[in-house]
């Protein structure tokens, strides 16, 4: 059904109310023409009798009660998709902005997607080697996982994402693709990503959806959905291994908050709408592997924690949905360590099933466990040292301080261009543990200690991995 309605009743923020809308479908897309201005799109968000409340994507400036003509398209927000979307750039609402014209459409897909049936999912257990010790060794990334980066302003989260893209062996060359969704990022950040993709030579495999900081906020709400609809298509229809990078989820949530308050909804914590959890879940849950289909969809969303606060609703709710998190630590960053991934606050929930014999190496789980536990003791020793002074510490605590310095200087600090194989990472881990007294290794059994505890070789291996400035 298509019908044109003249005029509108009310404008409030990005919302308009239109009467005589009988026959409109919930959540369908409308087109709004007004004299002398480009045609805008909007979406019906509420119906009440004859009245439809429409959310206008590009903002409502210039609209009056009489100068509009509204067309109901009769279908929800859809994206035209085919393999041709690779090496293309779109705006936040899925329109091409690279001047290459419309995409040949093999499929029309509703950007909201559908929930994946848990029965049809395949449990992800396929290890992705990123070449970064802090990830491979301690917080292993698994194909089909959603693993966000929790960062804050001024931290090198973009650099880390680029390093992962460059080094990660996600699939064989042919079948590998990246979908990049930028929400409310600065122009230079988007350019930086593009340049890095070009330098790495993967641009032909990248599909970009870009909503810049000064683009309409309503489009920002659509951006991750467009990106994921494209990613789902490539992964599950075209059988590709897709890595989705979404940055910055905090801007997305702020857009959602702005939109929610303009609708007059009852706010939850910090003014964010009460449905923020469900809304974020509808984005993050669109990752995984389907039983019997060749492709996979791995998500790395990036979010900045306002004021470095991990209990802020955005990182908090994200952590409840995603399968772990990589937390960047400002203290490590200030000490010049890259990547500054905090070992204790970070976690990969899927790690347990993707490591060990047949995936990485048999000793991986126990080693990672011991490294975590030992590093936790470093933190205790440091806080004690800050009170009573380093010299007063017991010999054991002193050895932990040294372990901490070595761990951060070698294992964590590997630099932007350095790629370590998983075997190198694990051997380095054992070399570090070998600098501790053997009695302190309480998470590994005797067999592993006998095979891997070699204090005599430790300093040589550590020397090898010290990043030379």
């Amino acid at each position: 059904m298509t019908q044109k309605i003249l005029g509108l009743q009310e404008v409030s923020g990005s919302l308009i109310a239109i009467d005589n809308a009988r026959g409109a479908h919930n959540e369908e897309i409308v087109e709004i023409e007004s004299a002398g201005q480009p045609t805008r799109k909007g979406r019906i968000i509420q119906l009440d009798g004859d009245r439809a409340i429409v959310q206008v994507f590009a903002g409502t400036s210039g609209l009056s009660r009489t100068n509009t003509k509204t067309t109901f398209t009769g279908h929800p927000m859809e994206l035209s998709l085919s393999r041709e979307i690779l090496n293309r750039t779109f705006n936040g609402a899925g329109q091409p902005i690279d001047g290459l014209g419309a995409v040949y459409a093999k499929a029309q897909v509703n950007i909201n997607g559908l929930p994946l049936n848990p029965v049809a999912r395949q449990y992800p257990d396929n290890f992705i080697e990123t070449g970064i010790s802090a990830i491979d060794g301690l917080n292993t990334l698994i194909r089909g996982q959603k693993l966000p980066i929790f960062s804050s302003s001024g931290m090198p989260h973009d650099k880390l994402a680029i390093q992962i893209v460059r080094q990660a062996a996600i699939g064989d060359e042919e079948n590998f693709g990246i979908v990049f969704g930028a929400m409310g990022v600065k122009r230079d950040v988007a350019d930086h990503f593009r340049k890095s993709f070009e330098e790495t030579g993967v641009m032909e495999k990248v599909c970009m959806f870009v909503n810049l900081a000064n683009d309409p906020i309503i489009e920002r709400i659509l951006t991750p959905r467009c990106a994921l609809a494209a990613a789902e298509y490539l992964a599950f229809e075209e059988g590709m291994h897709i890595l989705v990078i979404l940055t910055d989820m905090t801007s997305y949530c702020e857009a959602l908050r702005e939109f929610s308050s303009s609708k007059g909804e009852i706010p939850g914590r910090k003014g964010y709408p009460g449905y923020l959890y469900s809304d974020l879940a509808s984005i993050y849950e669109r990752a995984g592997i389907i039983e019997g289909k060749p492709g996979s969809l791995t998500q790395i969303p990036i979010l900045t924690m306002p004021n470095d606060d991990i209990t802020h609703p955005v990182p908090d709710l994200t952590g409840y949905i995603t399968e772990g998190q990589l937390v960047l630590d400002s203290a490590l960053h200030q000490n010049g360590i890259f990547p500054p991934i905090s070992p204790l606050a970070s976690l990969s929930r899927l790690m347990k099933d993707g490591i060990g014999e047949g995936y990485t190496r048999g000793d991986h789980a126990a080693l990672a466990n011991q490294l975590f536990a030992s590093y936790a003791k470093v933190v205790q020793a440091r806080s004690l040292a800050s009170v009573i002074g380093e010299d007063e510490l017991s010999p054991i605590d002193q050895s932990y301080l040294k372990f901490g310095r070595d761990f951060e200087g070698t294992f964590l600090n590997q630099g932007f261009t350095n790629k370590r194989s998983i075997v190198e990472t694990l051997d380095l881990g054992w070399a570090l543990l070998s600098t501790l007294p053997v009695g302190e290794l309480d998470r590994v059994d005797q067999k592993l200690i006998d095979a891997n505890y070699h204090p005599e070789n430790a300093s040589r291996i550590l020397e090898l991995h010290m990043v030379k400035e």
């Binding site: 848990p118 908090d316 409840y320 399968e323 772990g324 347990k352 004690l384 605590d397």
Partner: protein, 582 residues
């Protein structure tokens, strides 16, 4: 009279005009016949929450009453199944619609074709009452499904089918009531999910739900028929704790409700439980399990219903005389679903936007736990274990606080412990169990007379360590006198050797109570023996060097669950090690 949609706002649909709908009636909305439930009736409108996406619906589409309350289908075939929040079989949906759940379809909750071998235990002329078991059929290799007379039926049996194979719709029994009306009974019946099923009488709690997790069974036990809450920030291990209990606890039936959580977690439970073999029966764990999965990206109204669907299924098996344990992960997501729908209805919010009726809803849920005598005069129980996901790991938020009021067992998960990879990260200072006293007689007569005193010793050591740590933080451990150093060393044995438990270790993932008891005995013996040395002014440093603490800490790995006799040799081993010190 026909009714039509007047307004749509997210999952809430309004029908205008005077209608014959009743509260909590199940209705079918729009031409696509989406499932919905009446949640409000005003002078001019009826409010309906829809359990599926309302995208694409128009004003003016029909709304059809069904005359039934929102209910579950109860009968054989529930176990090993995986349902969504309104009891649609996800396996059937997957084979019908493919990997993604598109809307509007209501496949039967139970397989209608399958023939079940039924054995009867009543004969023509018998008097039967509501809740009485009149036949049985093996539902899985582990569980016998007892077919019961519905609670509202009683009278004289005027027809009994012969023992044999029947499907769920064939008539098995005809009962003539006193007033002469005849009810035909099949294997199945329906029960409204929001109404507790009736019981003959509530019994007190008296035995523990043994989980095989040391920190729970020993320090903070939950009773069969009890309720416990597991609050914790993300990454603290709520889901792991729930999974461990679901795998190893000694309930007969497990109902696992994934309420607004991750899809992959449900996939994991499904595949892991099919592969895992129950140590007691030698059968796959899935044979005693039913899963309810309403993941975070599935419709929010069905998430609200999923908890009730789960508990109704649990009560149904309880009525057969089984001990049922229900895990709900997570009740916070359920509360958020309440908040979201309440917001759509423009109700006046109370704390943090949650509706004012949040506490009463939480109370209604947890009060459905209990050890009961069923109408059929068997003993059964429903134990509830609800995970709570407090925002920002802040336990003062409304869901955690209100849950705390209605459960008697509280396992507080601690991020600091999880960071140090101390799992299960149940903080021994913040957690509690009010079931200790109720269960004491059971522990005394079934495990050991000194069980409680050993537990008290563990608690005392941990408590003293906590106080000493305050001092250590300021001045270091080296300046403490030797008796306090010993307390720290033994407390470490308790923490590392006893409380920490490795879920991925074949022997350590499940530990029988007997072993827990003997491990405590060894630790107590070690404490006694070393204390004597310290009294003779032998420094703790020297004692530590003989490796006796490591010896005890590694018991959990060194002594297999099948060789508990080995534990009796540890006092001798400790003596031998300590002899070298002197």
């Amino acid at each position: 009279m026909s009714f039509t949609i007047h307004a749509i706002n997210g999952p809430v649909v309004k029908v205008q005009g005077v209608s014959g709908f009743f509260m909590q009636e199940m209705v079918l909305v729009s031409k696509r016949r989406l499932m919905g439930e009446v949640i409000g009736i005003t002078e001019s409108d009826t409010l309906i929450q829809v359990y599926e996406s309302t995208e694409g619906i128009q004003v003016g589409e029909p709304v059809e009453p069904t005359g039934q309350l929102l209910s579950c289908v109860l009968g054989p075939g529930i176990l090993t199944n995986i349902y969504d929040g309104i009891q649609r079989s996800l396996k059937d949906l997957a084979s019908e619609q493919g990997a993604f759940i598109s809307i509007a379809s209501k496949p039967e909750s139970l397989n209608a074709e399958k023939k079940w071998p039924v054995t009867f235990n009543v004969k023509q002329g018998d008097e039967v009452r509501g809740g009485q078991v009149f036949a049985s059929t093996p539902e899985t290799s582990l569980i016998t499904h007892k077919i019961m007379v519905p609670p509202d039926v009683s009278g004289k049996v005027i027809f009994v089918a012969k023992d044999g194979d029947y499907n769920i719709h064939e008539i098995l029994l005809k009962v003539e009531a006193k007033d002469g009306s005849v009810r035909e009974l099949t294997m199945t019946n329906r029960w409204p999910i929001r109404q507790p099923r009736p019981v003959k009488k509530q019994l007190g709690v008296s035995m523990p739900l043994v989980t095989g997790q040391r920190v729970i069974d020993t320090l903070f036990p939950i009773a069969k028929g009890g309720a416990a809450a597991v609050p914790g920030g993300f990454g603290a291990g709520k889901t792991m704790t729930q999974h461990q209990i679901a795998k190893w606890c000694d309930a007969d039936i497990i109902v696992y409700v994934g309420c607004g959580e991750r899809g992959n977690e449900m996939t994991e439970v499904l595949s892991e439980f099919s592969d895992l073999i129950d140590p007691k029966s030698g059968k796959p764990l899935l044979e005693r399990t039913v899963l309810i999965a309403n993941t975070s990206n599935m419709p929010v109204a069905a998430r609200e219903a999923s908890i009730y669907t789960g508990i109704t299924l649990a009560e149904y098996y309880r009525d057969m005389g089984y001990h049922v344990a229900l895990m709900a992960d997570s009740t916070s997501r359920w509360a958020e679903a309440l908040r979201e729908i309440s917001g759509r209805l423009e109700e006046m919010p109370a704390e943090e936007g949650f509706p004012a009726y949040l506490p009463s809803r939480i109370a209604q849920f947890y009060e459905r736990a209990g050890m009961v005598e069923t109408l059929g005069e068997a003993t059964g129980s429903v134990s509830l274990i609800g995970a709570v996901s407090p925002q920002g790991a802040d336990f003062s938020e409304p869901v955690t606080q209100n849950t705390k009021r209605f459960v008697r067992c509280f396992w507080a998960l601690d991020k600091a412990l999880a960071y140090a990879r101390h799992y299960p990260a149940i903080n021994w200072n913040d957690s509690y169990s009010e079931y200790l006293e109720d269960l004491e007689p059971w522990y005394k007569s079934n495990i050991g007379r000194d069980f409680s005193s050993l537990r008290a010793l563990m608690t005392k050591l941990l408590h003293e360590e906590n106080e000493l740590n305050e001092i250590v933080k300021l001045i270091g451990a080296d300046v403490l006198p030797d008796d306090q150093k010993l307390t720290l060393a033994i407390a470490k044995c308790v923490r590392v050797g006893f409380l920490q438990q490795n879920a991925f270790h074949a022997e350590d993932t499940y530990v029988p109570l007997e072993k827990q008891y003997k491990m405590m005995k060894v630790i107590a013996y070690l404490y006694e023996a070393t204390r004597k040395l310290v009294e003779h002014h032998i420094p703790v440093r020297l004692i530590a060097e003989c490796g006796v603490f490591e010896l005890v800490e590694k018991i959990k790995y060194d002594v297999a669950n099948s060789e508990l006799a080995l534990l009796d040799e540890y006092p001798k081993k400790i003596d031998q090690a300590l002899a070298k010190v002197e």
